[in-house]
């Protein structure tokens, strides 16, 4: 029986090599998520307020961005668009990646936000009006905080998808964790150890994030617990 070919020492050595690329992964995920939240909220508000014309445009937007695989979207934007608009040629791969993911995940988030907003009782809005609040104050102080609590678990799933999708940036030449793994394995021909290390890095981030989210959920849920 042959020995299992797994070099544990080399496996461990991979981590300090990959770690320097973790910030890039986190940056792509974090920046994209931040923009996606802002865009997604705007899209959701357009839909819940049933703004004429804009609402149908938003529906088309969501349909388009939800349907395209991340890598296709990225190729269209990074390799394709500069062909139509040469002004885009100097735009870097990281920027394009963040832009693509922001637009794509805004589509997912807007659906989550729309459901969360509509689950806040209409009476909350009416009560806000009768104490003299403006619509903006009602959203800011009453509706959005309540909707956020409802949206948070689903937002966590989106963030996790986004984190994993950030590896696609590798295809347009961004050196993030997967790219680091690719380079390491190409130099050593020990694919299993390297890619397993990359995978565990992702897992570690997701575990840490899930823990933080649960803490936050518990904290935010306090007003709604008997």
């Amino acid at each position: 029986m042959s020995k299992i070919d797994f070099d544990f020492g080399f496996f461990l050595e991979n981590f300090p090599e990959i770690l320097p690329y973790l910030p890039m992964t986190l940056f792509i995920a974090g920046a994209s998520m931040s923009f996606a939240i802002i865009i997604g909220l705007a899209l959701a508000l357009v839909q819940t307020q049933k703004v004429p014309v804009l609402s149908s445009l938003v529906t088309a937007y969501i349909s388009f961005f939800r349907a395209l695989p991340s890598v296709v979207l990225l190729f269209i934007a990074y390799y394709g668009l500069p062909q139509l608009f040469p002004i885009l040629i100097p735009v870097g791969a990281v920027t394009v990646t963040v832009a693509c993911f922001s637009f794509k995940f805004a589509a997912y988030l807007s659906e989550i936000f729309r459901a969360a907003l509509s689950s806040v009782d209409l009476g909350q809005r009416e009560a806000g009006l009768t104490v003299g609040f403006s619509i903006a104050q009602i959203y800011r102080r009453i509706i959005l905080p309540q909707a956020f609590v409802i949206a948070l678990p689903a937002m966590g799933n989106v963030l996790i998808s986004l984190l994993k999708d950030s590896s696609v940036a590798f295809f347009v030449g961004v050196t993030e964790m997967l790219a680091a793994g690719k380079m390491l394995s190409a130099a050593n021909f020990r694919f299993f150890e390297t890619y397993l290390a990359v995978g565990l890095m992702y897992w570690g981030i997701v575990v840490l994030y899930s823990f933080a989210q649960r803490k936050l959920e518990n904290k935010l849920a306090a007003p709604y617990k008997r």
């Binding site: 009416e126 009560a127 009006l129 009768t130 104490v131 003299g132 007003p223």
Partner: protein
């Protein structure tokens, strides 16, 4: 103090309010009674523009609004004249009892947090809920929630408080604690318009009562007059059904 002229409102094809006119004096309590769907709540909700009337005029104190031509500024101005207590309380679920009361003080009236807190606690004390100040609505009973809602309405310092069936969602044993609070307000000469199914209460607390049917004011009178000597047959029939007056022979 409050003057409503020719107020009309249609929902789809149903005439919810048909040319309703009425007056309420300062310090007066007006109760509105009638069957479900008679337009009572719609009338109340038109007064603060939660529903937009199709025609008519509303005046509350100095603020006037004509339903056929008004700006969004007029709408806000007329809404700020009143406060409302809802059937389902509608307390802000993400705010404590105290915050429910102080939100409008801080964010629309420009109170400092300390002043708002002081007044908020005072108002909660008035409705007997000082010990519950830091609790969230979900931890309060229906009666307690409705009393917080009344304190929240008082904080607005409105010209009139509109009550939309304030006890209809409450368990029977919780109704009185809410009615007591409203009765105290009546004693203090708070101007109030109350839509209610509590006939005994309406009779006790009101200066005037109106009976509505099919979006119209059928009859208006003092509480005594309307409950004891209703002049319109429809009022009589309604009061008989609710057990307020005995069957009698003319």
């Amino acid at each position: 103090m409050i003057e409503i002229k020719g107020l009309s409102k249609k929902f789809n094809n149903r005439q919810a309010l048909a040319d309703v006119s009425l007056e309420v004096l300062k310090g007066e309590v007006l109760s509105i009674i009638g069957h479900s769907g008679s337009g009572k709540s719609t009338l109340l909700r038109c007064l603060n523009f939660l529903e937009k009337p199709d025609a008519g005029e509303i005046r509350i104190d100095e603020v006037r609004l004509n339903a056929t031509k008004y700006s969004s500024r007029d709408e806000i101005a007329i809404r700020r004249q009143s406060a409302m207590v809802f059937q389902s309380y509608n307390l802000f679920r993400n705010k404590t009892a105290l915050e429910n009361v102080t939100e409008s003080l801080i964010y629309t009236k420009g109170f400092s947090k300390a002043d708002a807190r002081a007044l908020g606690l005072e108002l909660l004390e008035r409705v007997g809920l000082l010990p519950q100040a830091a609790q969230y609505p979900i931890t309060l009973s229906g009666g307690q929630q409705q009393r917080v809602a009344i304190a929240r309405a008082l904080a607005v310092d409105p010209k009139v408080i509109l009550f939309d069936e304030p006890t209809s969602a409450l368990d029977p044993e919780l109704i009185n604690e809410v009615l007591d609070v409203i009765q105290n307000l009546a004693r203090e000469k708070t101007t109030m318009i109350i839509v209610t199914h509590e006939m005994e209460f309406a009779r006790k607390v009101s200066d005037h009562v109106i009976f509505m049917a099919d979006g119209q004011v059928v009859e208006r009178g003092s509480a005594r007059q309307l409950f004891e000597r209703p002049s319109d047959e429809r009022t009589r029939r309604f009061l008989r059904q609710t057990g307020e007056i005995e069957e009698y022979v003319i």
